[in-house]
Symmetry: C2
Subunit: 393 residues, 2 copies
DNA sequence: AATCTGTTTGACTCCTGAACAAACTATTTA
DNA sequence: TAAATAGTTTGTTCAGGAGTCAAACAGATT
């Protein structure tokens, strides 16, 4: 059931998103970009100014003719809280409409969800109280694990040891703000399309490489979560049924061979490769962290380099699967490995080239970790509904 | 850029599709189903009757009140030509709006595309001439291979030995009808969602198992083709870099282990498993066809049974990948294997259960081959634009 | 004078909601 | 038994509100 208001909905989002990406822009610019009439754009912009999403700025310069009034997003319109839950620490940040981070705090991620939620809520509350001038729009949370999107609950997060944890309800109760949760890899994928760096790209995969491997898939411009929200677990595709055990309960999953943990295992026991070695948790035997391996390799350590090369080969093997199966325009790699991109990239490219014969022309790029893609994804998650047309909501 | 006509577009498609799935239906039924006002439905139905998509039938029965006028699709409104190119034969069919097949003809699929296209065009022309009473809407073609959707051309079809073949242009020139081409697996996926058998399902994969393996992916209700049209080649995901050679140029692809050809190879040389055996074309050495193996197994032949069991294990392994990565509501298996579904299904289910720990609750179902899913997909392809709202053109 | 920006206005499309006409069943009344 | 009446459901009509468009117009600058 669609009324004529659906047109306004679509056009309004299109105008607002154009301003977000291209600001500053004049009404005439917007008319050209969106294909709408200048009169229509004026009406929509008036509405957006009324609702304080947009503000008028100074006059622009042109070679001739009347000078255009430039339009900007009103950064004071809304503040968004982004919460990035990672295995060791959790980042709580306050961002504005331009996804610029205004304040940020870190807390330790407790293994006991009950205690953790209490601490998280109080820190979040404090951040809100410290910024009384901000009109808060909502809270976005990214969690490394499988989510139930209907119940808005964490189903299972292996890296955290969580099982059926409800973050939404306590956060909403203690802050009074709407909370949305999203899988970590999906958040990264969202951040990438939100950033505007991939113009015209409707098919993209974010590959998160850390203790595990996650895949956030965007196809036809929409996140692929699957009806149960379980999509995106390509990290647990079985490459070798007789391989080492995985946290998921299976054996020889892709992430067993291509995650940071795999590189650590490789580095520590560089002989008994392929058979069932101990799980290789970060706190175990060796004591060497993935960051150590990266540093060692950068300083020329052969053994560390070989471990990374092996990891890269397996990363390539799995990416070839994604290229074959989904042929996205871009695969964005997120994680510490991107620190040694110059080393691993050629290996990945070569393996993908060998194993994917689809001529799919998928670009493989490293994400800029300094831009905190996961955190920005949570902010995009909250803002999405205002900037993208909600069809079939 | 959206005008208020977009609402009519959406509602009209919604009404027309409701009639298609649920006919016969009254205007009041439609209002209830679509959520529109009875007045709006009346206007839209009038328009559809004017354009001859819909016809009024008899009066319906009700316990009390005015009797409703029942509405039907007007099967005479449009005829669709569906062409299903398969490795050995090509089927040309004429269908009506209800996807009922009115006429059907088979020709041999020539390996030389030039000769084949000539024959195909003349047969298609003849079918059109034999039905002067039909108003033809268009032609849908399904080809087993990788397509370039922008150029509407076959890029590469390994099973046919085709390379950059343009079917569209000659068919359009000789018939004067618009032609659309689609990958075989995608056509099957389209047919499944078109059939109405999977209500409420927006995420589905059609798995075509024959000489090769294809995957037609529907996510969020839309076909996933990838920007280059190369998506859906999960059949060429590498399971074993040292495995037997594949037609694609790689080694150890999924389809090398799980296609009909794999079962034949397994049956014929049930000792030298895993090493580089001859490609196993159907016409080669052994002389045993896949149909033979199915019949043998049905009659209790052990060796044939083992070959099928092995094939089923690998089918399960690959499906586990799809479940892990995309978690669709349904995977529909298309191909001759479904003849022995009772035998292979438990094996597939078991392997998927072992290898996919996502609790994704994906149903795995056999397609009803007698309903010619691929052919019906080509018809859906042509009709789609009238029955589905075209958003973002 | 030329050119570009932004606003105003009338025409057209679309849906809604309420009122209304049509058609049928069941029940009551004569 | 036949006719009248009440109650229901279907389908149509019409005024009103929301949207976009296209063209004319006003404003501002070189």
């Amino acid at each position: 059931m669609a009324s004529s208001e659906i047109a306004r909905d679509i056009n309004r989002s299109s105008v607002l998103d154009s301003i977000r990406i291209g600001q500053p822009l004049s009404r005439a610019d917007l008319a050209r970009q969106t294909g709408l009439q200048r009169s229509t754009v004026s009406l929509i912009v008036d509405e957006l100014i009324d609702e304080r999403w947009v503000v008028e700025g100074a006059l622009g310069q042109l070679p001739r003719g009347r000078r255009p009034r430039l339009l900007y997003l009103n950064t004071h319109r809304a503040g968004i809280i982004g919460i990035n839950v990672m295995p060791r620490q959790t980042v709580i940040a306050l961002a504005d409409l331009n996804t610029r981070i205004l304040a940020q705090e870190s807390i330790a991620t407790q293994l006991d969800p009950k205690i953790f939620i209490k601490v998280l809520c109080s820190y979040t509350q404090r951040m809100i109280e410290h910024h009384p001038e901000v009109a808060f729009e909502g809270i976005g949370v990214s969690v490394p694990g499988r989510l139930d999107y209907e119940a808005q609950r964490v189903e299972f997060a292996a890296n955290l040891g969580w099982h059926r944890v409800d973050l939404k309800e306590p956060l909403e109760r203690s802050t009074g703000l709407p909370v949305q949760i999203e899988n970590a890899a999906n958040a990264c994928a969202l951040a990438e399309v939100w950033s505007g760096a991939h113009e015209g790209v409707t098919d993209l995969i974010a590959l998160t490489v850390s203790d595990g491997i996650g895949t956030g898939i965007i196809a036809n411009g929409h996140l692929v979560r699957g009806p149960s929200g379980a999509a995106g677990e390509f990290g647990h595709v079985c490459l070798n049924p007789d391989g080492p055990e995985c946290k998921c309960g299976g054996r020889g999953c892709w992430e067993v061979y291509a995650s940071n943990v795999a590189a650590i295992r490789n580095y520590s026991g560089q002989k008994d490769n392929g058979t069932r070695t101990p799980e290789g948790k970060l706190s175990n035997g060796s004591g060497t962290s993935f960051a150590d391996i990266l540093s060692l390799a950068e300083r020329g350590d052969r053994r560390a380099g070989r471990a990374l090369d092996e990891m890269a080969r397996y990363l390539g093997l799995g990416m070839a699967m994604l290229v074959n199966g989904l042929a996205p325009a871009v695969i964005v790699v997120v994680g510490e490995v991107t620190r040694v991109w110059k080393r691993v990239s050629p290996i990945i490219e070569q393996v993908v080239h060998e194993c994917a014969h689809t001529h799919a022309a998928t670009r493989i790029e490293p994400a800029d970790d300094s831009k905190q893609p996961r955190l920005r994804g949570t902010i995009a998650l909250v803002l999405q509904k205002h900037f993208r047309p909600r069809l079939f909501a």
